[in-house]
Subunit: 129 residues, 4 copies
Amino acid sequence: MISLNYRDSRPIYEQVKDGLRRLIVSGALRPDEKLPSVRALATQLAINPNTIQRAYLELESEGYIYSVAGRGSFVEERTAADKARRAQLSEQFRALAQELTALGATRESLIALLPPAGDAGDDKKEETT
Amino acid sequence: MISLNYRDSRPIYEQVKDGLRRLIVSGALRPDEKLPSVRALATQLAINPNTIQRAYLELESEGYIYSVAGRGSFVEERTAADKARRAQLSEQFRALAQELTALGATRESLIALLPPAGDAGDDKKEETT
Amino acid sequence: MISLNYRDSRPIYEQVKDGLRRLIVSGALRPDEKLPSVRALATQLAINPNTIQRAYLELESEGYIYSVAGRGSFVEERTAADKARRAQLSEQFRALAQELTALGATRESLIALLPPAGDAGDDKKEETT
Amino acid sequence: MISLNYRDSRPIYEQVKDGLRRLIVSGALRPDEKLPSVRALATQLAINPNTIQRAYLELESEGYIYSVAGRGSFVEERTAADKARRAQLSEQFRALAQELTALGATRESLIALLPPAGDAGDDKKEETT
DNA sequence: GTGGTCTAGACCACG
DNA sequence: GTGGTCTAGACCACA
């Protein structure tokens, strides 16, 4: 489900966050679906529950999931979180494209790196905002 | 010449590295041109010389500059470093584009974020990756 | 009658409490009227009877209802409970207004948030919600 | 500076957050002013550094402060965070006023609880958005 | 010395 | 059993 890379400089809780976010955004985890419990995921990944807890906490504050004490954590309806993240990633994208261009990459070479049109989502039809 | 942002979460030495790399890549600093001395730059930016030292060391190990004991640091010819960095950034770019697409961004919206053609601006015409 | 929101961070028993209190305060449930039995309400809301039990117990200790062993729970005359709660909420209200003012909200903007006059509703002529 | 109440049901890190937020919003701590270090505040309040750390972390993610590893934490310029919090508090305020009204409070009695006009800020002049 | 991350283990409220 | 909070103590990168 989620793969950790201990040699990666990124903190573990962020790798967990990214992994879960990917599952959510891609539709592999559907709204209101239950996530694995903090302890269960900690055991599965062989890391401390606090680390998972932190990942869940941040995903919640970012609007990707919601947690109910005593019941578990669940996937949130996708709304504002997506917009916020898209804005964030778009800025990264723009900056990256600019730097690559400064390094001599042509506009065409960048376009060639984009995913082909018409394969948007995974198993859901995505709208184009 | 180089602007530091103390609020940025990126460490200072990396901001220095990025600043210098930008100057080199953009051609503002030309091959074999002498960089400011560690102490001079430290004074100018009002930061610790250790921080500048680290930036220089890493730039050297990445192939952007070379140092001559007792004389200073100089801009390296641009060769392998560029290719390595472009490959790295291209992969980031590809991953970012994929994620944005999964989030519903259209191919057209991404293309719109690319820098306009015809401003590549270097000192050679470089071919695509 | 009572709506539960499982995403709400507030525990279920509190949502039940609030729902019942609202019904009582608004007059929808009249003094000495019988409340649904713990088990009945639990079934209706599809939650654990313990949760309802706890809500009833706390409402009783707060003076909103009274229980008669073997017969059920009933709505208390509204007296001390109201006063206590109003005092509590008033303090919250005062603190909130102060903080909003500190954040730059004008007195007028706060007044604009108050319910319109003329629907106050006391303990005499109350219509249901 | 900050007072903790262990009998309060609110978690300690939230009490710390509120205390600091109050100091920031009131202007007692000015933009770019340095906050006490995590360890220093932990010692002063006689609680675990992790608890302070969490408070700082959340204040940062809410836009009240920014942290620089190795240098400390500082008060952020006040912008979006204020707007978000005011919107949040305004909703609370509206709901509270409604409930008090349902409990029989008159519009006039609520207005009487508002801070007198013309004493807005602390030592800064606050604008009325 | 500073913030940031992680672990280990504990206790609590909730359902 | 679940999430939430807190403690104690450790190690790291950074300046």
